[in-house]
Structure formats: C-alpha cells, structure tokens
Symmetry: C2
C-alpha cells in the first residue's frame, strides 16, 4: 500500500469532516436498499448543526438511544488496527441497541485524535466505522472531530423498538432458563495473549508453541474475537419476537463479564420493583410494563428474592480451551465469568420456549433463575460455589 506522510494537522478539522462525509456517502450509495431513504435525509442536513433523520415513532414505540466511549489506552490493544478501532466503536453501541431488540436508526460519531495522526490512519479508522455501519444497516448520520493526546471515540446509536417488545434486563420469573448466545472467554483469552505479546515477545512465542500443540486454531480465533468483536443484531430481533406480555425475555449484552452481568440483571429486577413502588403516580397507561409492574409488585409484596444458578457441566467450554488457559496459568472459569468484551448476549427465557427458540438461533442454556437470592455455580465435582460479581469495572 502506498502510504502518504500527510498528517491530520495538515488538513484540519473541517476537511476531515468533509472526508468523513465523502466516504460515508460513497459507502452508503454502494450499499443495499435499506439505506436509500436515510441517505436522502442525511443529505438534507450534511454539514449542518445537527443531523436530521426521517423516522416514524408512534405511541406504540420507544426511541432507543445508547452512547459508549472507547479510549485508546483502555480499550484498544496495541495490535488493534485503525480499521478495527473504528469498527469496534460502532459494534459496542449497536450491541446495546441490539440487546433491547431495537431497529437501528442512525449512528453519531464523535472522534478525538492526536494532531500527528497520519491521514491514512484516520481514513482507515473511518473506513472501519463505515464498514461496521454498513454491516449493521445503521447509517452514519452525524458527528464531530476533536484533538486529544490519544484516540477517543464516542459513539451514539439511535434506534426504535415496539414498546411491548423491548428487551429489558428485568422481567424474568423463577424457573426461567439462563442462556448465553455463544461461547464466552475467547475475547478474554485474546486480550491475555496480546498483553503477553506486548510485554515479552519471547515468552509469547514460547507459549504459542505449547498452545499450538493443543489446538492451532484457538489463538487466531481468540485474537480475532478480541480485535474485531461483532454485535448480536439479528439475535436481538429473534429474541424480541419471543418476548410477550406473559413470557418476558430479558436480555443484556456481556461487556464487563458474565458474572458482573448476572448481578446487573438481578439489580435491575429489584430496582424496577422499587421504582414501581415509589413512582407509581407517574405510571401512564399505554406503557410496556403495566402487567409486568403489577407482577413485580406482587413479587415485592411476597419479598421474593431472585437468584441465578448455573451448572458447570452446561458451560460451553471446550477441553482445548481449558488446557490452553492452564498453559497460560489462568483459571478457565475466570476467563468465562469475569472478563468481558465478548458482546454475546446473556438472556433469560421461559423453559417452554426453548425448543422453539432453538429452531431460530444458536444458544446455550447454562442455568436457571432461582428464588435463592444468590448467584451460584454447581461445579462438575458436585460442590456449589458462590460466583462473585467482580467483572471489569472502570475507575476501580
């Protein structure tokens, strides 16, 4: 590739924004039919103070919005390409929308970069953003560029969802199955490997040799999962179709580790109960959660305390994965439960619906909702252990 030595400071903010507009225009035009309508709206407001978008959101739908910031030093491993940084900034936001079962409306990109960033690198990053936007059918509708000492990408995804179909973190009942949308821990393994590679290249090569004796494909897969995660957009749409007044499907994407998300969904269920008590006067009649609220309030009156039990024997962890974790001196359950960035779904569903759902998508049932007020695992050896909440948490 012929790379130029031009830096972003050689052309400045306004021309950078022009480049984004140009790239996004050409990509969108090449793209398939679901975006032609948005292109027109986007065009109307190109370069204006805000983005204008044609949408139709009536009283049966919610506007859905989510924002996530990625900061080079915390979120981008050394080996991540500029393309992958841009791609990931869309994925993390689309993942949040997908886990509500929302349809995408538009993506806003807010990016800060060092002055001496090469223009080619900037272009590559924008290409990553636009390719991800195209993959998930979410048009890039607006944004801003700034200067910072490291790369910071703050994205905002906007969507909409039918009120009665919105996939909340809460709404589960005792006996509901606890499921995940795919294997977990590969991204964690990938990050671990990239960290070792960064700190000690010789040690990395040595470990790689040992790992390749066990399985030669897992390293590539783990690193790929760490560097180029994908959002479960289609799965969000499938799950929302199973979400009914009588059988709520609750969903969240796993960003800070599965264990941490277990505690999150339990907290959300409790919070929703107590909010329903204190905010009852604000209830409007045409909302998602009237039935749900009534049921949750019943639960509250009965002082029911939900918990989660998972079964080690149900966890989709391959023998080779365990062996490789061992080579690296890591606990495979730690990789599975306590590191995030997989962007798979954790969801609960009524057990009667399991077979039907299996016809539509892949997933693993790993446990169930209890009324025990604990998060625990039944190990293969028969012991029961409490799973602590320690996921990855910023600022700790």
């Amino acid at each position: 590739m012929n790379r130029s030595s031009l830096k972003v400071s050689d052309i400045g903010e306004k021309q950078l924004i022009e480049r984004i507009i140009e790239k996004s225009k050409s990509c969108s035009i090449m793209d398939n039919n679901f975006q032609t309508n948005q292109i027109h709206n986007f065009k109307t407001s190109i370069g204006d103070d805000s983005a204008l978008t044609n949408v139709n959101i009536d009283k049966n739908s919610y506007l859905v919005s989510s924002t996530d910031m990625l900061i080079q030093s915390s979120h981008f491993p050394q080996d991540m390409t500029y393309f992958q940084m841009g791609y990931k900034s869309v994925v993390v936001n689309v993942s949040d929308l997908a886990s509500m079962g929302a349809d995408n409306i538009g993506f806003l990109l807010n990016i800060a970069i060092p002055k001496d960033t090469l223009l080619d690198d900037f272009d590559e990053l924008i290409c990553g953003v636009i390719q991800a936007c195209d993959s998930y059918g979410i048009p890039l509708i607006g944004g801003d560029t700034n200067e910072a000492s490291e790369i910071i990408i703050s994205g905002t995804a906007i969507g909409q969802v039918d009120k009665y179909k919105a996939l909340m973190k809460y709404g589960f009942k005792e006996g509901d199955l606890v499921c995940i949308s795919d294997q977990l821990g590969y991204a964690a393994l990938g990050f671990e490997l990239l960290q070792i590679k960064k700190e000690n290249k010789d040690k990395y090569e040595e470990l790689l040799e040992k790992i390749n004796e066990i399985d030669s494909t897992i390293v590539d897969m783990a690193i790929f999962k760490a560097l180029k995660p994908e959002a479960k957009y289609l799965e969000g749409h499938i799950l929302r179709d199973f979400n009914t007044k009588d059988n709520r499907v609750s969903v969240t994407d796993i960003t800070d580790g599965l264990a941490s998300e277990f505690y999150e969904i339990l907290t959300c269920q409790r919070r929703h109960q107590s909010y329903d008590e204190s905010f009852q006067s604000y209830q409007s009649s045409n909302d998602l959660n009237d039935d749900l609220s009534n049921r949750l309030n019943d639960d509250l009156n009965h002082e029911s305390k939900y918990g989660i039990r998972v079964y080690e024997d149900n966890l989709p962890i391959e023998k080779e994965f365990k062996q490789i974790a061992n080579v690296l001196g890591l606990d495979y359950l730690d990789l599975f439960f306590h590191v995030g960035e997989d962007f798979e779904f954790l969801f609960t569903i009524n057990k009667e619906l399991k077979n039907q759902l299996e016809e539509k998508m892949n997933f693993y049932v790993i446990g169930e909702i209890t009324n025990d007020n604990t998060v625990e695992i039944l190990l293969s050896n028969g012991d029961i252990k409490i799973i602590s909440s320690k996921g990855y948490e910023h600022l700790k």
Copy 2:
C-alpha cells in the same frame, strides 16, 4: 463547604452511575411539569443497555441529533469549575439543537475522568450537567462513565422538529438580512483574560487595573461568558416560527467564530445545490426541501454565487470593548469575527420580516446576503475589506 477526600476510584464505575441516576432522579422530580412524562420513560430503562424514551415523531417531523465532545485541555480554561464543565457540556449540544429550531427530547452523557478525581468534584460536575438539563428542559436519559488521563465529556442531544420548520444553514436569498442574536467577542475576551491570568498573574493584575478604569463590569461579564455560556433555545423556537416555504430563515450557532460561520453557511448553500443535482433520484416527496431544492437548482443554473457584506457601523461593539481590546494589544474586529464560543446565533431573514421579529426577540442586523461571491466588510472609514475564514479549527 465540607469536602471529603474520597476519590472516584474508591467507589468505581457502577456506583458512579448510580450516583448520576440518583441525582438526576431527584432533580427531575423537583423540576417543573414538562418532564414528568419523560421521567416515567427514563425510569423504565434505568440501568438497562439503552435509554427508552416516549416520543411521537410522525412523517411531518425529523428526528434531530447532535453530538459534541469537550476535552479538558482544549475546552476548559483553568478557572472553570467542575459545575461549569458539566453545564457547558449540555449547552454546546443544546445549542446545536436550538439552531435547528428543534424541541428537546433527551440528553446522553458520556464522561471520562481521571481515577484520582475527587468524588465531590465528580458530583459537582454532574450537578452542572443536571442543572443545565433542567434549564433547557432536556431530561438526562442515559450515558456511560470511563477512565481517562483528563476530563472528557461527550454529550449527545436528541430532539425533533417539524420538517417544514427546520432551521438549516442554507436557504437564504440575495438581499436577506444577516443578523446575530447578541453582541459577540465577550467570550473571546474572557478566554484571553483567563489565559493571561494563568501565564502571568502580575501582568493580569496590572491590566485589570487599566481595564477597570475604562469599565468595571466588562471583565466579569467576559469571564462569565467564557466560563458559563448559554444556548439560545428560546430564540431557536422564535426563529422557526418565522421560517416558511417562501421565506426561509437560515440559522447556525457561532462556535468557531463568526467569520468561519459565514463561510460555513455559504458552503452549505452551495453543497445543498450540488447535492440536489447529484442525488435527485433520492428525493422523496414529503420533504422539507422540495420547493427549496427547486429554487436552489434554478439558482445553480443561473450560476448565482452568494456572498455576505457586513457594515462595521452596524456591529454591536461598544466603545469600552474597543478600548479594552486595545489595552490587551488585541484587534477588536479579530475578537468579534475570529474567535468563537459565544454560542450566539448567526441567522439570515427576509428584510420584510425585520420589524415583526424585533417584537419577539433581540438581535442585531449586521449586513446582508449579496451575489458577489465574497465575504466583505464595509469599514467605518469607507474601505471595503475581505473577511478571511480563519476561525478556530481543531487539529490545525
């Protein structure tokens, strides 16, 4: 004030988010009636993957969205309080929505802070965010916290506007008046003073003495404008009422300097013309700009080239302001034209509507739209000078 030595790292991301939720809840409840509906919706999704909001956007309206990132080292002068940082992060985004004439729907806050930030300072910043949200009637609906080496606040404001009323940067005709919503240059003067104070306290005190002999109120006003800007939300609503198919009002907020915005609106007018040519096949029939497009295309065929002429004698610059600029060794026209951060509006309006608009809001007519393809100023001494585009531009 009793300050604690607790740092944000002592409680971590999840508890910080809880604090934001708590603060935002109490503020909103204390607030006036236009938010009660939103409170309920917000509640439904508190702590969930995305924010859910009750809105009604039909085919006659656009969804309006805007995102802006503030970075401590570029956007926050040393004297700015945490409260003011938070407040400004809302203002810059609401200003973008206001300059489209939009109604506010919700604000998303994405904040990154250093680990050792005092919890009291974090709380103060959040209070600034929430107080600004309350001032502009825009509920805080969601967000995220992260860790960074300096404070970074990325906000996203979402709103809606009637398609036929949206205030674009383009749409003006020859002879339209060029107006600003208030005096300019005070924020620029304030930033200048704060910079001097930071670099040389003695020099600052010395200058202050000289300035106070001229006018004792201007320093406070300038510094206040720099540290706590406000958005022209009401003015946006007034101007949109004057915006009709036959007499377009074009509006933008002045962030990078008035001269820079002059070139922006001319570029937008040209861009819209050329887009209308190349994208004509994407035109849908119920859009804002059908008539406008036709007219602009007519203009294009006639190779009309818009320009702007302003008159020094019309500029709202007080004698004292000029004298103070002189004391600081600055050109008052430079402060007026080439530094931004005032968040006042630059707008154009048909001259027949001037009197009517004067009954509704304060503004200054400083010039008019020409067909000369230049941006020029008629100086008090009778000379005509070209105004260059050099506004503040990041990454240059």
